[in-house]
Assembly symmetry: D3
Homo-oligomer: 236 residues x 6
């Protein structure tokens, strides 16, 4: 990812990014039903590296399988590139964990940018204390083997009813997670940065008592002038 | 609303109000699946002012529609009376936002008493920091246009599977939100105030080790006497 | 319960317990969709004492029924033994409360170890402040009479899609709640204690930058040696 | 059950019975999400005899348990009285069967009036061919042991979110199933019979082109007169 | 509606109409979870006339309310124009009926084209025998008063998560129901008629053993020629 | 597949197969929420050939994509081997179709054994008339592009919350669909054939008035003798 893009995405909200994608006809890039374990962190930004689960078959998911160093869940943790976000397709099923505290810690130490599942994490109280962005549906203590069979690494997946392709740019904030198609990342980051400046201006005006009519969107010419003045003052 | 009613409702819980309504045969006035973004605030109390969404049709919900000063979402924000609560029928669909930080801020500045949706808010981390009661199902970053078409202002609606008529009295606390039919507000407020005194007495007794049998409800005469004494001491 | 078992269970996580049960073929002992109101407390540990609700019939669930000292909800609160956990089968229905602040307070004062429902509690903000473990699905202000008819005390029930037999050992942490069949409690507690030592060792190693391959599980002989050394140093 | 009551209930619809119960404040006696396997049969009418399932625990639900002649599922089939309806609380969970073709056949041969579950039946194509009323949510081939543990016979249960007490009168038609509290059965049967006569009259009139205004309900005096005449002609 | 449009829509499928709307960016005009009670009938075609329900409030929904000739449910039945389809917003809630056999019969006699709800109908076995298109989610015997409060006639609504505006063209077949925005009806009807001819040609070819590659869509020139020949032979 | 195995599986029920798999610890091989469009056909038996969908991204799922002869949905139809069953992972999402009448017809003509999705089919009334087994959740007219992006052919998938590996043996009857792990197919087919003989014997006995106690399972020695005699008479 372009370093400027990464820097810009670190400072815009998923809400603003949703609108920028909506303008381009992309309506389902926001992950449904996924929330941060540790909402106080800066934005998560990174390319998607994926793990795919299918429903578990009991004979293939005994506790012994973790002894295989190629087990896809463990392999994903060790192969996810620094700066990337591990996104897990758990079919929205939080009855068993997608991963736990030890694996998430290892992923953090390896330099990943974050981890996301549409299922749940176990050891969630521990994960919530790490300085590492993690998003899930809800806590889930049972080992992944209980309901999930790890099958694939870095293939296109669904997560939270959104399509996720390896290399897409994943952004998370205290609200949730959005996936930006790789080829749009630069332009979306730039546009969202501009939008954010305008929204910050509007917020200032609203807090000063101004009506949103004519201001948001700026159908009134004066709103445009005021924004230009605000930018000069604020240096944005 | 009668100022005394408003003052009384500011000091009772939605749980107590549910029971007072239950005694009158009203069993579904509590909003299901709606929670506060900022649970540390005092009670929200105000008359319902409503906004109704239907499912979005793509050609009618482009980003351009916000340029219309009559767009019902924007109009609702500017027309909701001071002291009222804006209640939004989002059909329980939180896949897209019902409103965002800027609009909620404007509503606050205009003097509204709070905002409620059975869908979700975007910019929820910002809204959670405002000194303004807001209740939703879960955070949702996508713009309302993605799934919602704003159609009506101040008509009867459903919200959280409860019926809401304009002018009904809406009360929210750290637990959730309840809707009191307008004509019952005064008597319910008075009755709930009395019930709250009794419940506070019972809580004191229970914390001192007393059994609930005979005390809650006070089938034992002594409980009634003790309550009378407690009221004298407490001045309630 | 064996005091050593109780002491051990106070120091292990529900995630670790899930794995110990999974190894024995028990895959559904973790309660789905149940969360702590007060996640900062030490583990909840106690034998299950149960209350069963069926759907309410309106003529049998008027406000008057609480005057009966034998009403099963009130009786359960007064009969639950000290050290036990009251587990309530609410059929996963949180539209009305399973219990409220006064009853939970009384249960606490009577020395119970905690309370669990797969429905919701009312007065949840108050309950969240008690030094007493309580777990539910979500807050719910309506009185239990609105949707629940209390029918049985201390019979086998389902809670959170898990089977719960009276006397089973219930453990809760900041993640959730698990039910251990009574006859397995001692061996599971011992095994989980050993597993916890190993997991703590692994966490230390991972935080020091070690790969999970060969370490977790310890297929590499060196991992076993390092763990033995770690135990000597840590005195565990 | 009074034979006249049984005869009357055989000729009225669950819809009419719902309204008769609604008039008495009973709003949840109709079983939600339950449908007939064989909708061409006459009404099912009988007293409720119940079976309660809780979630299965794997060690208690091996295939061997059926060798126990006291296994509650098998015992329920052999103990359900002739003329009664076996109503099963499957917690609305149709992932595994509540019963199968052989057991349903045996129940039929024993003279029961029907069988109802809020889960599913296995061998449903076979059951659909029996001259025996059976109602479920959807077909489900897995043996009950997969998700259900049979625990109790003839205790109060929930089924389809309705309360069911042993001895309540259960009526099923091609639409669904309703539960009438035992003490109301006679008066409800009589009232529903009268209502059915009126509804049949109204249907005749509507089919002849008459408006429903003034007719249904008969606020117009002429409607009452016409009904009286119709009854004389029809001998009802 | 243009009579030719009505005639054309009577002979195309909802599946074909979905594709024609999809090409114009309209992705949510098909009603989710709605099925025909009587799938053997010809297509239903008519302009939407709507009825809106909100959740019932017990004091406003006693059995007496039907005595009011202006009650919106009864009024809708008597006001729906001949040739129109009555579409009911039941908020997807089938716990109580949207209407029953008598009202549906009256609507049929008045010349309406059909009736649709995203809830359920009572007397569904009777309705299934009428020569009148009716679509719902599932049978539901309880009177509408149990959960629905009729509030509005002929306003924009949601039904089956689709937007429905009065005057939109509603088409139903044995699969389900679709809503065509009024201004697109003519062009969609014409385009779908052409598409249907092509699909019938393709079906004939496929049944004769031809591969779909190059044929569907007709990227192979020969497919276009064959279709032209087929049209000449078939006179379409 | 062994021809004898195929022949045996054609004559046993999915219910019996569930039990045989349950005995081996496999509890989730039955597809949840999947039903036959044409329940009157003989059993469907074939090896699984799979198609995987992820959520649609609007820019990648325009109507133009079908022009690509490699589009995975179209390729799957043309590549599925004769005698195989095409099993589609639609993530349980029936808001858009998994396939339609033309593609299913082509698959039938190519000699496939059947088609299964955990979503829905469009043109379902046409598919229901084909002499070809098809199973889905419910009818769904919108083109697959509306919500599904075809991504992979013949990889392991989930369908109806069951794990499906290419080559697994898929069996469908009038009740539903089950997946037998490839390596177990022969032994399961043989065992189920034996079980079916016994169940047919039991059904005969039950229809003659015999109790299930001692008979099913045959804990009574006489039951075993009677079964042996029955087999001799029936030649099974």
């Amino acid at each position: 990812m372009n370093p400027q893009t990464r820097a810009q995405l670190a400072k815009v909200s998923t809400a603003t990014l949703c609108t920028a994608l909506f303008k381009r006809g992309l309506r389902r890039q926001y992950l449904q039903n996924v929330q941060p374990l540790n909402p106080g962190l800066p934005n998560m930004v990174g390319e998607a590296f994926t793990l795919r689960y299918i429903p578990a078959r009991e004979d293939l998911n005994t506790i012994e399988v973790f002894k295989d160093p190629q087990h896809p869940q463990r392999a994903a943790i060790e192969q996810c590139p620094p700066g990337a976000v591990l996104v897990i397709d758990s079919r929205g099923d939080a009855r068993a964990a997608s991963a736990g505290g030890i694996l998430v810690s290892r992923l953090m130490k390896r330099g990943a940018a974050g981890i996301v599942t549409d299922g749940g994490f176990r050891d969630s109280p521990d994960i919530a204390k790490l300085p590492f962005p993690a998003y899930h549906q809800r806590p889930s203590a049972p080992t992944n083997l209980t309901h999930h069979h790890a099958i694939d690494i870095n293939v296109p997946i669904g997560c939270g009813d959104a399509p996720v392709f390896p290399g897409d740019v994943v952004v998370g904030d205290a609200e949730g997670v959005i996936v930006i198609p790789a080829q749009l990342a630069d332009e979306i980051a730039a546009e969202a940065t501009e939008m954010t400046a305008f929204e910050d201006f509007v917020t200032d005006e609203v807090m000063n008592g101004r009506s949103i009519i004519g201001l948001y969107p700026p159908t009134d010419e004066r709103a445009k002038d005021d924004f230009a003045a605000w930018r000069r003052v604020k240096g944005r």
